[in-house]
């Protein structure tokens, strides 16, 4: 073995080792999240901090579900997120299909307008949307959340799906047209089935964005019966004597669906990783 080879091997062992050390450092905050969720209240800020709870307890989880109204927050989130994801994905599929496959008067203007609002910081829209929601009686309302979350992802979803629809071969649509299929039929029977990977990506990202949305919910919801998970979790944290075990148990419950989706549908994340990164 030459000197260069040996140096290469040493370097490799070092870099792989470093990758794992770095990984542990990245994971450490989550390790504390999990361990604290299983700790009794007396131990949540013990010195020295211990990663393995002693004794471990499930009390935080049961308390979060039963006494903390947490089940309600979970249902509120599930309702708002499911509905807004369905609305956003269906409407943006229809929009993306039209923008990709047809030339019609106003196409450029409409698509340009959509893209423009995508680039506007969220706060610019938050203030007038608040006024609009107030005028329509949609403040402090889950329906207000459904509408705003549907719009929130509409432009980005349309942009992504348009790419999928534009890449489809024209012959398919020509053939369908010859068979007498109208716009709606070719959308439903040809375009949608072929766009499944795109629809999956867009669905995941709409779901996650709505599941984690904080700003609109904290600005408009005042009735604690209507709180979604992010608002409910934040409320558990008090400036004095926070029950950290409860906070983190609740966080884990909220995080679970996200983790399941992430692990199961990992490949869609890389495709979508380049978009929607500026949210937050």
């Amino acid at each position: 073995m030459t000197v260069v080879d040996r140096r290469g091997r040493v370097l490799r062992v070092l870099t792989v080792g470093l990758a794992f050390v770095f990984g542990v450092a990245m994971l450490l905050p989550f390790a504390f999240l999990v361990s604290t969720a299983f700790k009794e209240h007396a131990f949540v800020l013990e010195i020295p901090p211990r990663l393995i709870p002693d004794p471990p307890t499930l009390d935080n989880f049961t308390e979060a579900w039963s006494t903390g109204d947490f089940g309600r927050y979970f249902l509120n989130s599930a309702f708002v997120v499911t509905l807004s994801t369905i609305i956003s994905v269906s409407l943006s599929a229809m929009l993306g299909f039209c923008f990709a496959r047809f030339d019609f008067p106003g196409r450029r203007a409409m698509f340009g307008a959509l893209l423009f609002t995508m680039m506007v910081p969220g706060m610019v829209l938050l203030i007038p949307q608040f006024v609009l929601a107030r005028n329509l009686g949609l403040l402090n309302s889950l329906w207000g959340l459904v509408i705003v979350y549907s719009v929130m992802n509409l432009a980005l979803n349309t942009f992504l799906l348009r790419g999928f629809f534009a890449a489809m071969p024209q012959e398919l649509f020509d053939a369908a047209q010859v068979d007498g299929a109208g716009v709606w039929t070719s959308f439903r029977t040809i375009a949608l089935p072929l766009a499944k990977p795109g629809l999956a990506t867009v669905t995941i990202f709409s779901f996650l964005a709505a599941w984690d949305e904080f700003t609109w919910a904290i600005t408009t919801l005042s009735d604690s019966d209507l709180y979604t998970l992010p608002i409910g979790i934040r409320l558990l944290q008090r400036s004095q004597s926070t029950e950290w075990g409860l906070v983190f148990a609740a966080s884990l419950i909220a995080l679970l669906p996200v983790l399941v989706i992430f692990v199961a549908l990992q490949r869609h994340f890389v495709a979508g990783a380049f978009v929607g990164a500026t949210k937050g």
Binding site: L11, T15, V16, L18, A19, G23, M26, L27, P29, F30, F32, T36, L45, I47, P49, M94, L95, R101, F102, D103, F104, A113, L114, T117, P121, M123, V124, L126, I127, P128, F130, V131, L132, V148, S150, V151, L154, A155, Q170, Q177, V183, W184, W211, F214, T219, R234, Q237, S239, W244, F248, S251, L255, V258, L259, F262, Q266, F269, A277, T278, G280
Partner: protein, 327 residues
């Protein structure tokens, strides 16, 4: 001739575009309109929702920014008063400088650590896929949850960070209330911003790294170039478009920081933007003006100033990148 062909629609039809031929054969105007009717039908629900809840609010916000819009009573037209008021508002400038500081630190941190992570994971070894997942985990976790984890880590008395730095390593003499000290609060929040974003930058860098030709690396190695020389002269030039892209997107992200600051400052000090407005960034300041002071006109003006700043910074970054041959 050109004008004529354009008027007849010939030039348009000739342009090769995969999305056009569907209707290029439409013979008459009325038939074309008839055929397009269902297309407009398909567009209607989405465009209606978009128009009412995005386009109209955007215009209204612009109008509001020239008024003293409160939620009740008539609002009066103020001209540019809200904007001149912002420019004379010391809190606006303080928030702007905090925003810039936060953005610079988080952008540089995410760029360097994201590149480091990508280089580490660009080699083949067992467990690489798992590590990618681990690095990416903070990206998909909600801001509220990660903010609360860090509030706990930063706890002023019994927090893990104080235990590590004070009790164990002895680097600091006393426990520090990281989020309650004006000197440390915004930087403590910036650390969260970096940690949460490393995984995303890494994924983008990994995509960039895959564009570096292997043969070029091998040729350079044959010529006896050191690892560092190969990194500088082969890898980095290929990563330039990636760096430019990240620079712009991460900068916008830095200017958009809101939830972490909202949650962490109010958890540690009881006031959004505390201690002593030390963590007030443009977004928290704007939010408080609009929804705590109910001064929506001023809030709208502040939000447009933020949009202007973000737009200007992005353009400057793109220009500099072009001039340096980065993009």
């Amino acid at each position: 001739m050109m004008g004529m062909s354009r008027r007849l629609g010939v030039a348009r039809a000739r342009r090769p575009s995969p999305s056009r031929p569907a209707l290029a054969s439409a013979s008459s105007r009325s038939e074309r309109a008839r055929r397009l009717l269902p297309v407009y039908g398909l567009l209607l629900p989405g465009m209606l929702l978009y128009g009412v809840w995005a386009a109209f609010p955007l215009l209204q916000s612009f109008v509001m920014s020239f008024t003293d819009w409160k939620l009740r009573g008539e609002s009066t037209f103020l001209g540019l008063d809200n904007y001149t008021r912002a420019l004379a508002d010391p809190m606006f400038w303080k928030a702007l400088s905090t925003t810039v500081g936060y953005t610079v630190v988080t952008v540089v941190g995410q760029l360097l650590l994201g590149l480091g992570a990508a280089l580490l994971l660009d080699q083949r070894f067992r467990g690489r896929g798992l590590l990618r997942l681990v690095y990416y985990l903070p990206v998909i976790t909600s801001w509220v949850i990660v903010s609360l984890i860090f509030v706990w880590l930063y706890n002023g008395q019994n927090g893990v960070l104080n235990w590590l730095l004070h009790d164990t390593l002895g680097v600091i003499g006393t426990d520090v209330a990281w989020l309650a000290e004006p000197a440390t609060a915004i930087w403590a929040i910036a650390v969260l911003g970096i940690w949460k974003g490393i995984g995303w930058s890494m994924v983008v860098f990994l995509a960039g790294l895959s564009s570096v030709p292997v043969e070029l690396h091998e040729a350079a190695a044959m010529d006896g170039a050191s690892r560092w020389a190969r990194f500088r002269n082969v890898t980095l030039p290929f990563l330039r478009p990636t760096v430019t892209f990240l620079l712009i997107v991460l900068t916008i992200g830095g200017f958009s920081a809101f939830i972490s600051i909202f949650v962490m400052s109010s958890a540690a000090t009881g006031t959004i933007g505390g201690p002593l407005n030390g963590t007030d960034v443009l977004l928290t300041y704007t939010w408080k003006q609009a929804f705590a002071e109910i001064d929506l006109g001023y809030g709208a003006a502040l939000s447009f100033l933020l949009a202007l700043v973000i737009g200007a910074v992005s353009i400057v970054e793109l220009r500099v990148a072009r001039r340096e041959g980065l993009a």
